[in-house]
Subunit: 329 residues, 2 copies
DNA sequence: GTCACATGTGGTAAGGTTACCACATTATTT
DNA sequence: AAATAATGTGGTAACCTTACCACATGTGAC
């Protein structure tokens, strides 16, 4: 592979001069610049970013850890993170933690060894302490790790509130909420808080079933509905689901068992990701998280921290959610 | 950031010795090893892969360029590529070309500058010549670039054949095929070849509508059906679509316009990616491309080329497709 | 004519790691 | 006892780039 020295020799100048042409820094004679550019062209020179990264202690690489890059929400998030990063000349390394603590740990040390400039954390199995040692900025999605780790999230409380109020306004009397796992203190738990409080405020009977584990696949949710939810279902006339896949699985279960939606049972989902947007039967009533905005903000936040060299920041972002009225309420 | 020298000083040995411990190479005394490991632990040392990459001229990074990482097919492909790469200690940089030639070009030079070890090419707007200059192995999905660039593909001809035969066996007399763009010589065009030949073999009237541009979003396909396909639709009783999103859009159009599927119109899709697998109404009849196998093979093929230092290879892989009988035929 | 400053160019250390050679000590073979 | 091999450790160039200092020439001001 040709290097800057080869260019220098060919152009009859020093490596310093070539470097100056490359980086457009300092004074360069017009003729010299031309000679150098011609030489670069002729020998098909391509600057070595690895050497640059070593020299500058900056890789222009971001890591993103997600539970499952094929999940429609994360898939879309990743796309927008990547596009925004690319606009700022950053690259993105994707990591699938598959919700395994061990994998998450391994990925983090891999990213550390590769001296990524920053990390976007969307998988939350690890203990908080693990992040504190990191020497690069970390931005999380939907989780508060500590005061100085900024997070980006859609307004989870408001989402839960809107969803619950919508069910109540639609005439539901006994509400069920199928939540995500509540062990860790994740921001989506606010949806559950909002569900409880809103029900109490309106004096509505309610219950919460906790999703034991976030496997995040449709098949898993389908089984979950069958095994954990179905027995209780007859008691309720409205269900607020933690995500659209659960809502869809629930809808299908209802359809199969002759429970009429929305007449007998109203269903509200959460996410409105690409799967839900494409899905036409039924059009789910759901809470839209503006995933493209979230992705964009995740990228710009972490890049901003990289460029200002601030490891800490309290620049949290909470974006608005929106009720999408479909046919299931 | 601490480096190998700091470890050496702390452990009271030379950097060479530390390097030997790190890489488990050569002779090391038992006591020395312990001292070094203890020192590494104490100062929280993390080897700098950037320096290693520079030294060894190997980055252990693969690039993957796709049209749209949020498309359900590519999203799933990427996941499996990443998981397999990770098993072999490689990392994956994702690039969304958005089917823009300019972006594809820019990504390629970015990957070149970052000295990726190999490239998995799933976006095909560029001219063949562009790839030939690259100094790292390239593996493509669904495209023959040149003899020495290996490709991985599902058996497109067979897929087209199965789909068409299935429609004929189901009693269709006039068949339509909505293809992808046929300009470039891509392997999916074999589906169209198969469609034509199979129809001719069975003496079946048929027609092909070429998808002008691969925007790959559901909304685009929906509009496309409305504007390009709808007028002709009454002439046909069976449609073979180039992908499931088109098939789904077509199904919805038919449903909306009181064309009964499958009684009046039979529809076969292509891909059986995660969207289609989750979709329950309708269960599409489609051709399954084993995307997890494809992803795995893409990764292992390119990694194998990296490790054997062979830039050329004729190790093409064609994997079997399968008819998934749904409710649309 | 001298000084200050702008312009243009070059040499080299440093960034963190490993490959390679060199050397010292101990163990084994003949 | 001498020769050879195995074991253990250290010094340093190289990978490619940029930052930094040094130097040379030209220009305008006083």
């Amino acid at each position: 592979m040709v290097n800057i020295k080869d260019v220098a020799i060919r152009a009859g100048v020093s490596v310093t001069t070539v470097s100056r042409v490359l980086n457009n820094r300092g004074y360069i004679g017009k003729e010299t610049r031309k000679k150098v550019e011609k030489a670069m062209e002729e020998i098909n020179y391509s600057p070595n970013q690895i050497a640059r990264a070593l020299q500058k202690s900056q890789s222009y690489i971001l890591g993103i850890i997600v539970p499952d890059s094929n999940h429609p929400f994360f898939s879309e998030l990743i796309k927008h993170v990547e596009i925004t990063a690319n606009e700022h000349n950053y690259k993105v390394l994707i990591c699938n933690s598959l919700d395994q603590l061990e994998k998450e740990t391994k990925y983090i040390s891999m990213l550390k060894e590769n001296r990524v400039d920053g990390l976007i954390m969307c998988s939350h199995t690890l203990d908080v302490e693990e992040y504190k040692k990191l020497s690069f900025p970390v931005v999380t999605f939907d989780r508060i790790i500590a005061n100085h780790f900024p997070y980006v999230a859609a307004d989870n409380y408001r989402g839960g509130e809107i969803a619950t109020e919508h069910l109540i306004e639609s005439g539901c009397k006994k509400l069920l909420h199928i939540s995500g796992p509540l062990k860790l203190d994740l921001l989506p738990n606010r949806r559950t808080d909002a569900f409880r409080l809103t029900c109490m405020k309106h004096n509505i009977d309610h219950e919460v079933i906790e999703g034991t584990q976030d496997n995040l696949t449709f098949d898993y949710f389908s089984d979950f509905i069958e095994s954990e939810v179905s027995v209780k279902l007859t008691d309720f006339d409205g269900v607020f689901c933690s995500n659209d896949l659960v809502a869809y699985a629930l809808y299908l279960y209802a359809a199969k068992n002759n429970i009429k939606v929305p007449e007998q049972l109203k269903i509200v989902g959460y996410d409105f990701h690409s799967f839900t947007r494409m899905l036409q039967t039924p059009k789910l009533t759901t809470i839209a998280q503006p995933v493209s905005r979230i992705g964009k903000i995740l990228s710009t936040t972490v890049i901003n921290m990289v460029e200002t060299k601030e490891l800490d920041s309290i620049n949290n972002s909470v974006v608005d959610v929106e009720l999408i009225k479909g046919e299931t309420t």
